[in-house]
Symmetry: C2
Subunit: 117 residues, 2 copies
């Protein structure tokens, strides 16, 4: 089975199906450190990453932003001193698509690489 | 008179005075496109900048972040597709310092330079 972080984002149209609650729950298990925001619309995936200073937080923002450009799928990135809150959702469908879980997993991977460097 | 964008941020201590409401109102006139958030504590300066795509928004985030590192004063930068919301306040005093108005003015200047390029 292809893991989320090995997957590529697929082209998303206005009529692409939102992910079902059951599938979301299943995929969520692969990215347990993300919060699945389901109480209010649109559903979103959110995680706050911590860093030892502002420069590292900014570097991570840059890396996630570059990844977003490569994949053609864009998050909200809130950068502060020692922290970046990343939120993924799919604007076109005002909710969660499989792509968002892929991007969350890839974001985790970038974070792990940065922690290890 | 030195304009805000020509000023440098001064070192801020835990006992540095918050800016007075009168002075804040006066300085706000120099950066009219910022919203002075005074209804709730901490007081903050906030402005949303718009861009034609995600890459430009990310580039602006990077520039404001580098400026923050140079000045030793750090904002919150929320980057999304075609927009960056910048929020300035001084954590040590849980409110607004003169430095925040300086940084807001410098942020405006970066935005104008980018629009002109």
């Amino acid at each position: 089975m292809t893991t989320l972080s090995e997957s590529k984002c697929e082209a998303c149209r206005n009529d692409s199906p939102r992910i079902s609650d059951a599938e979301a729950a299943q995929l969520h298990a692969e990215i347990p450190q993300w919060r699945l925001i389901a109480q209010e619309e649109p559903k979103q995936l959110e995680r706050e990453f911590t860093f030892r200073n502002f420069a590292d937080a900014l570097k991570f923002t840059q890396q996630v932003g570059q990844l977003a450009e490569q994949e053609g799928h864009h998050p909200e990135l809130c950068t502060g001193w020692g922290r970046v809150k990343v939120t993924w959702w799919t604007h076109k469908i005002e909710g969660l698509h499989h792509n968002d879980f892929v991007m969350a997993a890839k974001t985790d991977e970038l974070y792990e690489q940065m922690q290890g460097s």
